[in-house]
Amino acid sequence: MTIPHLRRIGMAGAMLVVGAVAGLAVGAPASAADDSSVSVVHGIPGQPVDVYVNGKKTLSNFQPTKVAGPLSLSAGSYDVALTKPGGSVDSPIIENKSLAVPGGKNLSLVAHLTADGKPALTPFVNDTSMIKPGMARLVVRHTAAAPAVDVRANGKVAFSNLTNPKQASADLPAGSVKADVVLAGTSTVAIGPQTVNLQAGTETIVYAIGSARDKSLALVAQNISGLGQAPGGMPAGTGGQAASGGHTWWFAGAGAGIVLLIAGVALGISRRPHAVSRQ
């Protein structure tokens, strides 16, 4: 009689401690620059989930093939659990008790199937380096229960022999590409073809998800925009007629202030922690 009772108290105590630590981790003050932007990608067909971060429900009834967030998380270790909608966090479908989130990065956390069909949670760090003018970045991630694949763009192999959970990436001229996924080294189409619109200055991340055995293979796309590099220069005159001998700059000061203000607003917007929303 006493032993189970004590055990129960012990467990309750342990849970309290975990809760307190989790609360601290979530609420830890950190400067916005240290936060990472974390998108959550659902790549397990047929199974809506609730997503818990450090024991707190963060996404409800999150549907397969959707991308949510981004969440703004400060650097640290997180406990991420996915349950059936309304299910107990103590019996998750998948859980990563120590998901390491670095500071100041852009991450995608992908719920998917491993090559042999087991649920997994895999974090990817997204490449947010600037993209040359007129170019777009295409990233392909193999997160499906399927063997090695080749990814073709307009019928030509762009990325070969990709295996779960690897990724491949290239910067390409902006425009539409017809993409499909074939079994590596063959022309046996596994997914697609699908038209992917690659916009200048935007990174398009395409996930192969689902299961070959269950015939549920599909593609999910995530976009990261605003990565376009500016042109190198602005040459806009060859005549010399407008050459100045010294203008009077009657509002240069005020102008600079206003431009700084606009730049500040821009920074404010980009740094504001994002609310959780479905995309």
């Binding site: 040359k132 003018p133 007129g134 902006a174 200048a200 200055g201 925009s225 605003g226 376009g228 590099q229 500016a230 042109p231 190198g232 220069g233 602005m234 040459p235 806009a236 005159g237 060859t238 005549g239 010399g240 007629q241 407008a242 050459a243 100045s244 001998g245 203008h247 700059w249 009657w250 509002f251 240069a252 005020a254 102008g255 600079a256 206003i258 431009v259 606009i262 730049a263 607003v265 821009a266 920074l267 917007i269 980009s270």
Partner: protein
């Protein structure tokens, strides 16, 4: 949506706008005709809700003379600018004009697809380097949405 027309009554500009990108050197490709200005097609367009809509135009050219943006330096705060396409017109008002040496200019902030919506007009100015047929500075006008 690509804008096709730019009107700035204060400096008598009625210019045709064409989409443009970068040249082989990676520089903004200003349309060759001095009467036509270029909209940066890799950035925000006419119906954008955020970021910088960039239009670049010649101040002048050695072969064609005075360009559409010759009088950009005469713009004052409050001057109104309309940018349009068939069926869509948006109004902006000038808030800033800067002259920045090309050697130091940070074009990134003027071409950003993020932040508050604004219209950025570019041309050249400053002193003229006859040997390279090039101006030393950029003239940058920033305008914000107006009713």
């Amino acid at each position: 949506m690509p804008p096709t027309r730019l009107d700035i009554s204060a400096i008598h500009v009625k210019a045709h706008v064409v989409p443009t990108g970068v040249d082989s050197r990676g520089d903004f490709s200003v349309p060759p005709s001095v009467d036509t200005v270029g909209w940066y097609k890799y950035g925000p367009g006419l119906t954008a809700s955020s970021g910088s809509i960039v239009i670049g135009g010649h101040v002048d050219s050695a072969t064609e003379g005075v360009g559409a943006f010759f009088h950009l330096t005469d713009l004052r705060p409050g001057n109104r600018i309309s940018l349009s396409s068939r069926g869509t017109t948006r109004w902006f008002r000038v808030v800033a004009r800067e002259q920045i040496p090309k050697a130091n200019i940070d074009l990134g902030r003027y071409f950003s697809a993020g932040g508050a919506l604004r219209l950025t007009l570019f041309t050249c100015g400053g002193s003229f380097d006859r040997a390279h047929r090039s101006y030393t500075d950029n003239i940058v006008v920033t305008a914000v949405p107006a009713r």
